[in-house]
């Protein structure tokens, strides 16, 4: 095998290694700058399925991260806000009855805000309202 052949082979190997390196570089970047959702390993469709199955309680606690300012991908943001609505409604009742009136009022305002911002989900919000109301034992 002459030098030229060895050199050509080394160039090909380098190109393959370079491609592999770039792939790993992008993968590492993604791995380091992953968002809260990836870390929590919540599947993108999980919340959507929960809402479709009317399991609002699961949606509620799974989407709690949105309240503390976690970055939520745009395509699933609506589902998270629906979850936030259910969570706040559930928690509002507790705050109201433990004399945390300011917090209860803050939650109430946010609930109104969500309803106004997302009128297309009115039927879901109504269903959540009904389910939380139904779950309260008087």
């Amino acid at each position: 095998m002459n030098k030229r052949t060895i050199f050509s082979i080394s160039i090909i190997v380098n190109i393959i290694l370079c491609m592999f390196f770039l792939f790993l570089l992008m993968d590492s970047y993604k791995a380091i700058y992953y968002d809260y959702l990836t870390r929590d390993t919540i599947e993108q469709n999980a919340l959507k399925n929960n809402i479709e199955q009317e399991c609002y309680g699961i949606t509620a606690y799974r989407s709690r991260s949105i309240r503390i300012g976690a970055e939520i991908p745009k395509e699933v943001q609506d589902y998270y806000v629906i979850g936030e609505y259910a969570d706040l409604l559930f928690l509002k009742e507790i705050h109201k009855r433990t004399q945390n009136n300011d917090t209860a009022n803050d939650f109430e305002s946010r609930l109104h805000e969500i309803r106004n911002e997302m009128p297309e989900y009115k039927s879901i919000f109504d269903s959540i309202d009904k389910s939380v109301k139904k779950s309260v034992k008087e």
Binding site: E54, G57, I68, I128, K137
Partner: protein
Amino acid sequence: MKCISCGGECRLTDEVCPYCGRQLVETSGYRSDIKKYKGKNEKTQKILDKVASENVPMIISVLVMVLLLTGIGVMIYINDNAYTFREEFMRKKAEKNYEGSLAEIQKYLDAGDYTGFAAYIEYNNIYVHKGPFEDLKLLGRFAEKYVELVNCVEKAVVFGDNAERYNPEESVSDCRWAICFFYQEYDYYSSEIEEDSYKEYIYDMKKKADKILEIYLGMDGDEITSFLQSSENEQEVYLEEVLMPNE
């Protein structure tokens, strides 16, 4: 060598004597040999330079290969440890911004929003077991249990009329477990809570836990006590009646 004409000292490479100027024919053979060798030497040098220049790209290629392999090794290491790096980064960031993080935490605590507090601690990877946030250790521990209780009850009671619930029996069992665990921990750590600087929030958390059971599971103070004192089976039966009335 000496000049045969004047006897002056001459070098083998001199063509004429530097003293008398006589043509030095005796050294002509030596000089032509030197010329020949120099020529050969230059030729050899050229060959050597050519070989060396041919090898430069090969050497560069090998160096690039070594660098790429090292880079790949580093990337694989980063990939494998990305979670740890990220967690560590978040933890250090929170510790660096201690005052800011504490102010944010205080906001959640003052609002009585312990689920928000727990989510904030988790998201920012605030390490409460040691380090600057160690004061929050007990509060963090209870917040974790409180969140489990909230989640379990929330999951078990908030669902639509046509909900496709997956394994509601499991929800009942999770609820029972979360309730018992919270109250057992509360009893177990009662003396430590008494001395904790954040005790008022833990007491408030307990008050809220009581309220959750009252609002969503229909238990008042005495019923909570008797629920906790009853057997596992009795607890399950009670929760099944409340959470799965039609099933």
